[in-house]
């Protein structure tokens, strides 16, 4: 989808969700904005939006595009809302558990044959993080991490997540401490972007070294030239040059020092159909767990993953577990990769 189309779909969905009447004539979005929303978006009661800069101003249409005032307002509104959610996923109609097992490269269709799943409804926590690697440039990423309530298992989940079948839910008496699960999510996230962080750090270091070398070469060379021209009596000039060198070095450090930060965007508590299956492996029975939302197969021992010559798909249907494994291949994602990969994964998912 092109950027303008993505923005259009996002703006329409958000505005409708906050109670705005939206009519889309193919060119403009015509809005009737409720009083409560007008102030937060700085919009009048009736207005129209365009996603095409050439049409901005026609019928007083407000432009929505990267860097535009209204898009910043819309993004601000969206990120202030929906920071946490409790939802229940209805049981998907298809035989999702067997398909998920069949899709799992470590099991495959043959391994999933003749299994008898037993289904329950279990809690699952989803943590959405935004990460930023910054120096004199910036690379951001968006990451979803699923964690079991006790924090014992966690895995990366691609975006977009299946939303079909999700309904608001109430968990009376829910008072669970999310701390352990959050810490697991932090750990999974850290492992997931480890490679990106290291590449970024090295790149910053290379730039810094180059800059520092050049600065020393220049200023030390200049001092030598000054001394040669005036062997005595140039102390003040030399002190000034050295002070300037130190200032430039400090400036270079500020420019190229890498930082990696993460912030929690939202938390979701989910009640998800979950099946427990005992697989008959050659080495004995193996109990695995699959949830209907992420369809990630839990319980596979590390040696199973490492042993098999099974070629891994380029885009696994779900993030691979990092905890309790030594071969976590969950994404060292580039910021853009998180979107592209999850789309292709979603397209392979049954029923999506």
């Amino acid at each position: 989808m092109k950027e303008a189309e993505s923005l259009r779909a996002f703006a329409t969905a958000l505005l409708e969700d906050v109670g705005t009447e939206v009519r889309d004539d193919g060119t403009f979005l015509w809005l009737r904005v409720p009083d409560a929303v007008q102030a937060s978006l700085d919009l009048p009661g009736q207005t129209c939006l365009t996603f095409d800069a050439d049409r901005a101003g026609e019928f007083d249409a407000e432009l929505v595009a990267p860097g535009s005032y209204l898009l910043e307002k819309l993004l601000g509104l969206a990120t202030r809302r929906g920071r946490w959610d409790v939802a229940r996923l209805a049981t998907p109609p298809e035989d999702w558990a067997l398909e998920a097992l069949g899709d799992c490269p470590e099991i495959g269709p043959d391994g999933a044959r003749d299994v008898v799943p037993s289904q329950t409804e279990e809690l699952l926590f989803l943590f959405a993080f935004r990460t930023a690697l910054t120096s004199d440039e910036k690379r951001e990423g968006f990451h979803l991490i699923a964690v079991t309530p006790d924090g014992s298992e966690g895995w990366a989940v691609p975006w977009p997540l299946q939303e079909q079948g999700l309904v608001p839910a109430i968990l009376p008496g829910f008072s669970q401490d999310l701390g352990p699960a959050y810490r697991t999510a932090q750990e999974i996230l850290g492992q997931g972007i480890r490679e990106d962080m290291e590449i970024f750090r090295r790149s910053c270091l290379t730039s810094l070294e180059e800059e520092v070398r050049r600065i020393f070469r220049y200023f030390d060379g200049t001092v030598a030239e000054v001394k040669e021209a005036a062997p005595s009596g140039a102390e003040d000039v030399i002190r000034a040059i050295e002070a300037e060198r130190d200032r430039r070095l400090a400036e270079a450090l500020e420019r190229f020092e890498p930082h990696a930060v993460a912030s929690l965007c939202s938390v979701r508590v989910l009640l998800v159909p979950t099946v427990h299956v005992t697989l008959d492996r050659g080495t004995g029975p193996l109990a695995v767990t699959i949830d209907a939302l992420t369809r990630h197969v839990r319980g596979l021992p590390a040696e199973v993953k490492e042993a098999g010559p099974v070629p891994l798909p380029a885009d696994p249907p779900s993030g691979t577990p990092l905890r309790r494994t030594t071969a976590g291949r969950a994404p060292g994602r580039s910021p853009r990769g998180s979107t592209e990969r999850s789309r292709s994964a979603a397209s392979r998912r049954p029923g999506s």
Partner: protein
Amino acid sequence: MSTTVSEASPSAGSSLSLVFDDADQALLASVARGPGDGPRAWYLNAEAHRLSLVQGFDRLVSWPSLRGVSRYEHQERTALRVLREMRGRALLADEVGLGKTVEAGLILKEYAIRGLVRRALILTPPALRTQWQEEMREKFSLSFEVLRSARDWERSPFLLASLDTAKREPHATLARGIRWDLVIVDEAHRLKNSLSRNWRFVAGLRKRYMLLLTATPIQNDLDELFNLVSLLKPGQLHTYDEYLARYVATLDHRVPARVTELRGRLRDVMVRNRRGISFTLPPRRVHSLPVRLTPEERRLYDDVTGFVRDAWGTSSGRLPLPARLTLMVLQREIGSSTFATAQTLAKLEHSPLFGREEQDRLAALRREAEAIRDNVKATHLRSFLRSSDEKVLVFTQYLRTLEYLRGVLEADGYSIAAYHGGLSPRAKDEAVRAFRADRRIFLSTEAGGEGRNLQFARTLVNYDLPWNPLRIEQRIGRVHRLGQEKEVHVVNLWATDTVEEYLIELLDRKIHMFELVVGELDLILGDLGARKSFEDLLMEIWTLKEAEERRAALRRLGESLVKARARYETVKERNDAVLKDASEEAAA
């Protein structure tokens, strides 16, 4: 306290730590306190974060949100090169008229969208502050404050200041105390001398990115190029002695050596786009329409001028600034229309700036102006408009003159799109659209000058002449710009024996400004060496009591302008000689 997870390498000392936001804990604590906003809101929250991710500099994301900016490949290429390869430190040295300001604005906007620039400082010559402010606001939706007091340094994250003011105390110390994300220096050839206060002030600013803008990095000798590049990237051209030994061939430091190697080193830090074949503009024809005022208009003009000269000259010592500005406005208005003049006279006859006797004179002048029902310049404009059926832009400086012309021309049956500073941005867009669609005449005040693409028309009438030549140039730039395919006609209406005739003498006959590429005039005027603006110089000549004194002063100013233009031509040639092959040809 932030939580930190170090994961990058087994050696914790050399690893990069992932720092988690303190605010995460507050969010965790809020979970299960009341219902959420629903699954849809949760999805939209995630989608909003995803849509606003910053993903390096693989492309320019700001284009769709820019207003009135034509998309030129050389500007896009320049911005990407500066962002990716030069890491935000560059000398933008395009030839005049290729849009260095737009390139700088693009780079700034890209950084701002990515959250990498939150504090920016633009240093300009005093005369260009307002132009920059308007351009940043109208084209890039970036609100810059112009430095007015020392408090502005802390108060305004996006600040515009004249270099002359900023380098002085208390400003210099305050400016150095701030960590700037981006510093832009326009007309950066003023930083040519590394011993100057200008250079030392800019070098002393704490900054992450820096853009130096000049079409002529070499004004006199090759030392200047070294000083500019060293400001951006010390050592890029080696040390000074090495630079002289390698790249300078003569004792006067004007002739380069190893030019290919020098250009190669410059490419890492400088972008210079030059005018390619596709950037050659069609010719511009200038038509001068001198007008003889009617006896009533003549009398009013002379009476107003007499009042202005008396008030300007009788004051003991220097006139207070408000009075000087008022007199300049009055003198400019009488060159525009009697209607604009009458309105101002009505205000001034009660102004405390003037004594009782002067107020009586002003009241008499107002009555004299109000008695005139038509202006002869309008008659000439109407006969010019009847001579062709093309779309025409008519510029005036004053809203009252615009209203008068609108009445006259609509009575003649012309369809008008009126454009002035009192309109909302949307109404301005609508006026441009109406002119493009079916209106014959675009009637505009100065506000019509900025950022609007009107090159679908090719005829422009200066109903009056701003005393600031850059304003005249901006008007012409609305039609004589990239995208214009036809010959452009500029019609200047002016009354004989007025200050406007002086303007025509200086700008048209002496330096042929109407033949210059947009942007060149600025460099010529900047080289006049005068501490006063061109308008002030003109007013000082005009208010001299004796005609002979006025003629002599006009002649001297004309000679200075001619010399400045000649110097500019020399500098242009010098830059071409060194930098030409380091340039890239711009393509429309």
